[in-house]
């Protein structure tokens, strides 16, 4: 067998032994048929490594598919490298690296074996067949048997199909846009996506809204609906295909300046524990306030903020010694120090008891009343719902993309969803496997129709 033929066979089939090549060819035929059944384009079966990834998608085990793909690629490339060395009669290099190659190759084969099993056990679950089929998957030469059987057999049908995302997207698309306001926040987000392996994954799509100044807005959504992604897109930190304006200024094109106009309080207290409260706030002030502000004024502002958030008695304490509520208030005051126009808080009440949470939300209401926009994510909204003006409801549609299911006043939300409490609204849009009613698509469509007039 010529070296060039060995190379081609290795690249395409990951082997040049005739028996293995034949087994792999049958495997590709099986993958072709299986992909068609699972709603994936069949030609992916012809592309080395990509077929392993697509197999993971068919098995509803995309992360495993990625590892399966990467390890397969590395193994093939190592095999190709070995053939190239042999081709050049460079056995000296090959011998020198032999122990290293052996260790790496064995490790990769082991990893691939594990992910192969995981992907195939996923396929077994999806096709509802006996677990004994896994035996065929253990041996590389026999993997084509289940692939051909499930792919060609009429009685084998997958319980879950990789959806045709484009059609689904089009069905749920809204074509309107929110008018840009001179005062307040306007969001016109076409989509926010990430490129994953061999496809584009949409995290958010079609979100349009205009929030007036002085509004305190609740951001609702089930787990994975894209709430944090949405907030990051709004404040310009993670840019989306969108136009976001705050008081008429473009958040994206003027990001370097506008970032000081947005205060983002993360869910966790991301503050250095081994520093005093006052020093932490002084550093935050140095970072966020104008460099032209005199030192006395900066210290005065720090004192003022500590007073507002009740941190004066603990100003010389170490941050790590503060209570949960004090840490939360410190975290908020670090952002509040620059007096931002848009204030975003990701679960500020996590870890706080009802009374403390209520006090905190009342403080936030006070901030909104000074003419700022306050957007809050919380998982216990009903105890403080009277403090909010509006609600944004994000829902994960059937293609697992975050979409706008509603934006408007609290009362309008109740009538739109036909639910009295916010928790009931979240339950209605959550997927069935998450314990919800699985009505996300329905409400997204309904709201899209409302927006499209």
């Amino acid at each position: 067998m010529t070296n060039i033929l060995r190379l081609v066979l290795t690249l395409f089939f990951d082997a040049y032994n005739p028996i293995l090549v034949a087994a792999r060819a049958l495997f590709i035929v099986g993958a072709w048929l299986l992909f068609r059944k699972s709603g994936i384009k069949s030609w992916w079966a012809l592309i080395p490594w990509a077929r392993e990834y697509q197999l993971g998608r068919c098995a509803a085990r995309e992360p495993e598919g990625r590892y399966f793909c990467v390890t397969s690629m590395l193994i093939t490339l190592m095999s190709v490298a070995i053939i190239c060395f042999q081709w050049n009669d460079d056995n000296e290099t090959l011998i020198a690296f032999a122990p290293l190659i052996l260790v790496v190759l064995v490790s990769l084969l082991l990893i691939r074996f594990i992910y192969n099993i995981r992907v195939f056990s996923g396929l077994i679950r999806i096709y509802g067949v006996s677990r004994w089929w896994i035996v065929f998957c253990i041996f590389d030469e026999l993997r084509f048997i289940p692939m051909l059987t499930w792919g060609a057999g009429g009685k084998y049908q997958p319980a879950w199909k990789v959806e045709d995302l484009k059609a689904e997207m089009e069905r749920l698309a809204t074509h309107g846009s929110a008018a840009v306001m001179d005062e307040g926040l306007t969001v016109n987000l076409k989509d926010r996506h990430v490129k994953e392996f061999f496809h584009k994954k949409y995290l958010l799509k079609d979100i349009h809204m205009a929030i007036p100044q002085g509004h305190m807005v609740l951001l609702l959504g089930g787990s994975g609906a894209g709430k944090t992604t949405f907030l990051n897109a709004v404040n310009g930190y993670e840019k989306a295909d969108a136009k976001v304006t705050l008081n008429g200024n473009d958040m994206y094109s003027d990001y370097k300046k506008m970032q000081y106009e947005v205060g983002f309080v993360p869910q966790q207290e991301l503050i250095r524990g081994k520093d005093t409260v006052k020093r932490t706030l002084l550093d935050a002030a140095k970072l966020r306030l104008s460099k032209d502000i005199p030192r006395e004024d900066r210290e005065k502002r720090v004192h003022e903020v500590m007073d507002i958030f009740g941190l004066l008695p603990v100003q010389d304490n170490m941050v790590e010694k503060l209570s949960g509520g004090q840490k939360k208030r410190l975290s908020i005051s670090m952002e509040f120090i620059s007096n931002p126009s848009l204030f975003i808080l990701d679960e500020p009440d996590s870890g706080l008891d009802g009374v403390m949470a209520r006090e905190l939300f009342e403080q936030l209401r006070g901030i909104a009343d000074t003419g700022k926009i306050v957007i809050v994510i919380t998982h216990t909204p009903d105890r403080v719902i009277d403090l909010f003006d509006d609600v944004i409801v994000l829902a994960k549609d059937s293609s697992r993309t975050g979409r706008l299911a509603f934006y408007g006043s609290i009362d309008d939300a109740r009538s739109f969803f036909g639910r009295q409490t916010m928790e009931e609204i979240v339950k209605s849009i959550n997927q069935k496997e998450e314990g919800g009613d699985g009505l996300a698509d329905e409400f997204v469509l309904k709201y899209a129709e409302v927006q499209n007039g």
């Binding site: 000296e92 290099t93 020198a96 690296f97 001179d182 005062e183 100044q213 002085g214 944090t228 404040n235 930190y237 993670e238 705050l246 008081n247 008429g248 200024n249 003027d254 300046k257 506008m258 970032q259 000081y260 106009e261 983002f264 993360p266 966790q268 991301l270 503050i271 250095r272 081994k274 520093d275 020093r279 550093d283 935050a284 140095k286 970072l287 966020r288 306030l289 104008s290 460099k291 032209d292 170490m318 670090m334 952002e335 007096n339 931002p340 126009s341 000074t370 003419g371 700022k372």
Partner: protein
């Protein structure tokens, strides 16, 4: 303060915030406070303890012999890499969430990394000073003048600082790459082992992977320090042990007179040529010449010359004088000769000797005896010198060029790791949370 008419945004757009260099002071001050509050100072006593242990175990042979100095140098380089690596392996990943938050609030990654670099620079200088003081206290001295400063210890200190700082920045880069302290501490041993294995000088690695040494901090570090302590000029004492091991081993065997004569007439052999050039007295018997060569101190060096294997000229002369078959020849008078070569040629041309060319001579002795005949001290000195010459490494030559090259090599690493740290951390906004 913002108001309801949106003037706040317009005002904010005109506000000038601290730039990249302006922010350095904020973070530098923060890290200095961390040094006190977060017990970062613990790295200093840790450096002292490690240096103390290494100095105690290896310091005695430092500067005395080649192998002891090389081992101690390697150990000191390892100490520096260890110190530097553990200074910053967790510094970024342990506060990655905080960094992301502050980056979102206007912090520049460049400022953050430069502040770390400044803070770590001071830490590494302090660690180097502590290491040198402790090494001095436990007996590892760096006497004399340095190549660049009046004190060798300062020159060595620069090398140790560069190794520590480069390792520190390598770890800083790893810390920006990984997302948790657990991952960082898992990667750390691999990095250390890589540095040690490919340091060159101590571990023998296949030639094909030798170029990997260029990618390690330990290799230029070891070369710089070895150059500074003038490793090439130190004796290689490990041979003492080897000689002791073979001291009782018997050597010798049966050789013919013809073989001896042929060897002594081989003028191409520089050793033989030297022997042949020795001047001897006139009109003496062959025996007298032989005894003179054996007993006269003038010829002690000559007697010790090794002719073949372990057989010296002294052994051969002694054997010849004790061979009864040669009595007639030994009593022959040799006239009008001036060099030993001429005596040998005269004897070799003699018919009586030619008839005895196939006569065998038995030479038996231990290696120790042979060395004692030649002179143990001189022999050992000669062996050590020869071994040192065999161990000669151009990279360890005590030249300013060598030292500067290695320093520059490490400086390149410092620069590369600093740039990589900034580039890597710039992607922090891609973190999932």
């Amino acid at each position: 303060m913002a108001d309801k008419n949106g003037n706040a945004s317009v005002r904010q757009l005109e506000v000038r915030h601290r730039g990249r260099f302006g922010q350095i002071s904020i973070y530098f001050g923060k890290f200095i406070r961390m040094f006190v509050y977060q017990s970062d100072w613990k790295v200093l006593p840790m450096a002292a303890i490690i240096a103390g242990l290494v100095g105690f175990a290896l310091g005695r042979e430092f500067g005395i012999n080649m192998e002891g100095t090389l081992t101690a140098t390697f150990a000191v380089v390892c100490v520096c890499i260890w110190n530097g690596s553990f200074n910053s392996i967790q510094v970024v990943c342990r506060e990655r969430g905080i960094v992301k938050r502050e980056h979102r609030s206007g912090m520049y990654i460049l400022s953050y990394i430069l502040s770390h670099m400044m803070y770590q620079l001071i830490l590494c200088i302090l660690q180097t000073v502590v290491t040198l003081i402790v090494l001095h206290l436990v007996g590892m001295k760096f006497p004399g003048k340095g190549m660049f400063t009046p004190w060798m210890v300062v020159d060595i200190g620069i090398t140790l600082f560069l190794i520590t700082y480069a390792s520190d920045l390598l770890s800083l880069w790893i810390s920006t790459l990984v997302h948790s302290t657990t991952t960082a501490m898992t990667i750390m041993p691999f990095v250390l082992i890589f540095q040690l294995i490919f340091s060159g000088g101590v571990f023998s690695i296949p030639a094909v992977v030798k170029p990997i040494e260029l990618l390690t901090i330990s290799s230029p570090g070891l070369k710089a320090m070895a150059s500074q302590v003038n490793l090439n000029d130190l004796p290689y004492s490990a041979v003492d042990g080897m000689v002791k091991m073979v001291d009782k081993v018997e050597v010798g065997g049966r050789i013919t007179l013809g073989q001896v004569l042929d060897l002594l007439q081989d003028e191409k052999n520089p050793m033989v040529a030297e022997i042949r050039a020795v001047k001897v007295g006139n009109t003496m018997t062959v025996r007298e010449i032989g005894e003179d060569l054996l007993n006269n101190d003038t010829y002690a060096d000559l007697r010790g010359k090794v002719l073949v294997g372990n057989v010296t000229l002294g052994d051969v002369i002694s054997a010849l004088l004790n061979t009864e078959a040669l009595n007639e020849i030994l009593d022959m008078e040799v006239g009008e000769v001036s060099t030993l070569g001429e005596v040998i040629d005269y004897l070799a041309a003699d018919d009586a000797i030619r008839s005895l060319r196939n006569e065998g001579l038995d030479i038996h002795m231990t290696v120790g005896d042979a060395i004692d005949i030649i002179g143990r001290e001189e022999t050992m000195a000669s062996i050590r010198k020869t071994a040192s010459e065999a161990m000669y490494e151009p990279a360890y030559e005590n030249t300013s060029g060598n030292i500067i090259n290695n320093w520059l090599h490490i400086l390149v690493f410092i620069l590369v790791f600093a740039v990589l740290s900034v580039i890597t951390l710039e992607f922090i906004d891609k973190d999932k949370r």
